[in-house]
């Protein structure tokens, strides 16, 4: 997958996106000059008694100026239950963390709107 030279990327190295929607989101943030990082933080959600991590969550994007984590999911709406559950757990365990889930429907709508030049 292409990985352009980003201007607003605040991470190290080159981000390796998991899918097209993540890449498009990165391009969008970059276009509007919103600083972003890719998968900078892994949050532990569950750990065993011996300290071993049994469940973790690494949101796709972090926007430092907004102090906001974004998770992009390209799964169909009916299949996002697991991600919703992870996000809910993240909010329970880390109430100070500001995180949003962007669904496939949101990404598609956004792409459509941007083609139509209606996104403000």
């Amino acid at each position: 997958m292409e990985s352009p030279d980003f201007q607003a990327f605040r991470g190290r190295g080159k981000p390796r996106f998991a899918n097209r929607a993540e890449l498009e989101c990165a391009k969008l943030l970059d276009y509007y000059g919103v600083p972003w990082d890719y998968e900078p933080t892994t949050f532990v959600l569950e750990s065993a008694e011996d300290g071993r991590v049994t469940e973790a969550f690494t949101p796709d994007f972090y926007l430092p100026e907004q102090d906001l984590y974004l998770e992009i999911t390209v799964m169909k709406q009916t299949l996002v239950t697991r991600k919703n559950r992870k996000l809910r757990k993240l909010r329970e365990r880390y109430p100070e963390v500001n995180a949003k889930l962007f669904y496939r429907r949101d990404v598609e709508r956004l792409a459509e709107r941007l083609r139509l030049d209606l996104a403000s």
Partner: protein, 170 residues
Amino acid sequence: MSAGETYLTASQLLARARELGAAITRDYDGRDLVLVVPLRGSFIFGVDLSRSLSLPHEIDFVELEPYHRGRRGVRLMKDLDGDIRGRDVLIAVDVVDTGLTMHYLCKTLRLREPASLRIATLLDRPYRRLVDDLPVGYIGFTVPDELFVGYGFALEEQHRNLPDLHIRAA
């Protein structure tokens, strides 16, 4: 392609613009107001809002390069004609969605040191916001996640002239 069902009529839109205008008139009484209208989608709302203000103000326009043109970064295709330093700036915009465009515009205008900077938006989709640090002071309608045409909103540059706001036909 035709416009779909009517979501808000021209009279509802004008009535809301007048309500916002009355609130803005109260808030900006005695201040040096500049109404900034981003082209092109906001021009009808900008005009209705301007005519609803019972106080002297300047109206100016900006135009940002749309994302789909594929350049490396957003830029102003048309800049303000006037100076805003030390003045009270109110951006009259058609819709705030992700907040990315307004984020860029506010950042750009703040560099010019206005006395204050706020946003009056006709439509708002707060649940779609990617950037939340926007000075949104006035909201016309909070709307569902639909695409609209009419009242300045276009589909392939058509339908901006329709007096009512329509949900775009599928």
